[in-house]
Amino acid sequence: MTNAQNKSIKEQFLTVIKSFWKQKITHFGLLELIVFIGILLYFFMTVLPLFMAFGFSFTNQNVLYKTSDFIGIANYIDLLDDKSFIRSLWMTTRLSLLVTLAANVGGLLIALMLNVNDRYHGALRTIFFIPQVLSAVIVSFIWRIILVDRGLLNNFLLEIGLIENPIHWLGDPDMAFRAIVIVVTWQMIGFCTVVYLASLQGIPQDLKEAAEIDGANRWQQFWNVVWPLLAPGVTINMVLLLIMTFKLYDQIAVLTSGGPGGRTETLSFYIIRVAFSGNQLGYGSTMAVVLFIATGIISGLVVSRLKRREIEY
């Protein structure tokens, strides 16, 4: 192709682009463009890998090999007898429910306390939200320094005489589980607080004033006026927290590496271990599909149940 011909194509292309920009692009066209790019990214980053994982789940794909064989539902059958999978699924479910409940209750209480518009409370809102902004890995490293047997917490408790021997926050399976619940709740509580704050500030003041005029005390105002109107915030927090905690990996990897003895191994951690350390990408994908389905079902059930509570006003 000659330079002249190259130049000609370039010029034509630029002319086309220029003419597009010169023409009036309506608000509606620009939106279509933005949405399309978003859909495209979502497709390649989320939907396509999901389908690929689904496909891998019916194979014996080894992470280091290019080819694999179709093995039907053998992986799914193996899962039924995999005690580590069942244990990690149960552990993840317990963790998810506890964190979701604790973070929501804590977040609501904090939001109620912070629902005052002044500079002081504005600063407090920022402080409470900081853990949410920090990387889960960083948060976990900090907590690990605090929680190891000769860590900051035990040293402090020993110093003030509250305990005689170090508490095995991460060494004892039950304590390790509780420690993880606390750490994850601590990080998630800021998110719940912000959502509840937004919901609280969307509640018309006159409704509360009307209730007060009618003789309702603070608890009655909260239970009969504020709580029903918080339903959208509750739905958002419950669903998002359930989804986030069901996929928990970072905190487990740093705090306990799934130990001791695999007792704090979440499903995501087990999937990564099997798929990558164990080279069993096909089997790991099977578990990932099950995790996806489980998360979807639970989220769907929660949303449908909680949506019924939401009031239009």
């Binding site: 066209g29 193996d78 170090p166 060494g171 080279n279 990408l281």
Partner: protein
């Protein structure tokens, strides 16, 4: 409007697809044929111009990628300075792009799955990547020329990592002052070891410390007991397990792991405390002088500070029959990619790097690696090591009469377990520390091994 929208959508799609695709070399621009000049009619002889000397076009450097991990001693400065030193000595047109990761095995797997396997993947598990055809074996002549044990780390007859040095396992480091205080000596048999532990317990000490919070660190007692007792009797035991001829539920393996459970039951190891203590904390506790015994690898020879306040000793975990056995790992960090675009330059750099004086100095000094290089003495590495290290080097590592077996789950050879299984073994050790039944744990390990092996065999 529809035309605009469609065109913009196509444009966006094109950009998205271009962004998503792997970087590909741009095709060389096709040069236009230069116009042929018409010959000029020559009336007079034209002076021939001297040809203008063209400046040589600088050749693009070969770019190699290298992924390693970092430790306190082998930090970013060490790697970058070592790479620069090696390249300066080589005087080759090579550039090395270095990066580090905490979990080098899993990261290397991800890179391999996305066709980005690095040219050098430092210290990854050899067996997995070698069997997948991602590593280049070392030439036997090269191994014979440079290394004391050229065949020490072979898998299926090939060496995929250079046997530059050795580390020992099953070592129990101890506080000589505490031993003296309690009136005990280095044990020669398992019974003596347990008796010493009882004496320490009676004196108010927790006899053995462990760093169980880190799973690899939790492995040492189990690794030591199996290596000393099972491999000590049958060095080929792991090959038999791979062939299905033995199992982890067999008496000899169960007996070895029961020795760990016995220590926990007797209170010689505080299981929960061990599991809550990480590597750094455990090391510091030993330096502080309150810990009688601490199981670690031989790299621990290089860790204690000079002002530790007591003399450190070390002995191998004793067997019931008193036979002296050392469990050993022989290898080096370099793993050379078989899918590199520059195989010759890569091997040139790799061979230079793994033997470079700066690199050897650092790994010997900081990690107490026992060097296994031919025609080299310790003085050549310009290191300052403790007397006990020299003693171990002379009397154990370089002593052909001292029985050495591969360190269980740390081997770099055919005795390596199947991928992912050692995590299960380390979890079992943690479970035993928590008081779980040994027989049940070994049965679980057999089940996991058999199922994983079946799935892996299908996938290869």
């Amino acid at each position: 409007m529809k035309k605009i929208t469609f065109a913009l959508l196509v444009f966006a799609l094109a950009i998205s697809l271009a962004a998503c695709s792997s970087p590909a070399e741009e095709p060389a621009a096709v040069e236009e044929p230069t116009a042929v000049e018409e010959p000029v009619a020559v009336e007079e002889p034209v002076a021939v111009e001297e040809p203008v000397a063209e400046e040589p076009v600088a050749e693009e450097p070969v770019v190699l990628t290298m992924v390693t991990h970092e430790t306190e001693a082998l930090d970013a400065d060490f790697w970058l300075n070592s790479i620069d030193a090696v390249l300066a000595d080589l005087d080759a047109n090579i550039v090395v792009e270095w990066s580090s990761t905490a979990d080098r095995d899993n990261y290397a797997r991800q890179l391999a799955a996305t066709d980005q396997f690095p040219d050098i993947a430092w210290a990854v598990t050899v067996s997995d990547f070698a069997e997948a055809g991602l590593l280049v074996p070392y030439d036997q002549e090269y191994l014979d020329e440079y290394f004391v044990l050229p065949n020490a780390s072979k898998i299926k007859g090939e060496a995929w990592a250079p046997p530059v040095g050795a580390q020992l396992f099953s070592l129990v480091f101890y506080n000589k002052a505490i031993f003296e205080e309690v009136g005990i000596e280095e044990p020669a048999t398992w019974d003596e070891f347990m008796a010493n532990s009882q004496a320490l317990l009676d004196a108010g000490y927790i006899p053995q410390q462990m760093c169980g919070a880190d799973t690899w660190c939790a492995s040492f007692p189990g690794v030591g007991l199996v290596s000393q007792n099972v491999f000590g009797d049958d060095p080929e035991w792991m090959l038999k397990r791979k062939a299905g001829e033995v199992s982890f539920s067999d008496p000899e393996f169960v007996a070895a792991m029961q020795m760990l459970a016995d220590q926990v039951d007797a209170g010689y190891i505080d299981g929960a405390a061990a599991l809550g203590t990480d590597f750094g904390t455990a090391n510091q506790a030993f330096y502080d002088g309150g810990v009688p015994m601490y199981m670690q690898g031989s790299w621990f020879f290089g860790y204690p500070p000079e002002d530790m306040g007591f003399e450190m000793g070390a002995f191998f975990l004793p067997r019931p029959d008193g036979m002296e056995v050392a469990s050993i790992y022989v290898g080096g960090g370099t793993r050379v990619s078989a899918v590199s675009e520059h195989p010759e330059e890569l091997m040139l750099f790799a061979e230079a790097f793994e033997k470079h004086p700066d690199v050897m100095h650092a790994v010997v000094q900081s990690d107490a690696l026992f060097p296994m290089m031919k025609d080299m003495t310790i003085e050549d590495y310009n290191v300052e090591m403790s007397d006990i290290w020299y003693d171990t080097y002379e009397n154990v590592v370089m002593n052909d009469d001292f029985l050495k077996v591969s360190a269980f789950t740390w081997a770099n050879n055919d005795l390596d377990p199947i991928p992912g299984w050692k995590d299960e073994f380390y979890a079992s050790i943690q479970n035993i520390l928590l008081g779980d039944d040994v027989v049940e744990e070994m049965a679980r390990l057999d089940k996991v091994w058999d199922e994983s092996a079946a799935r892996l065999a299908q996938g290869e």
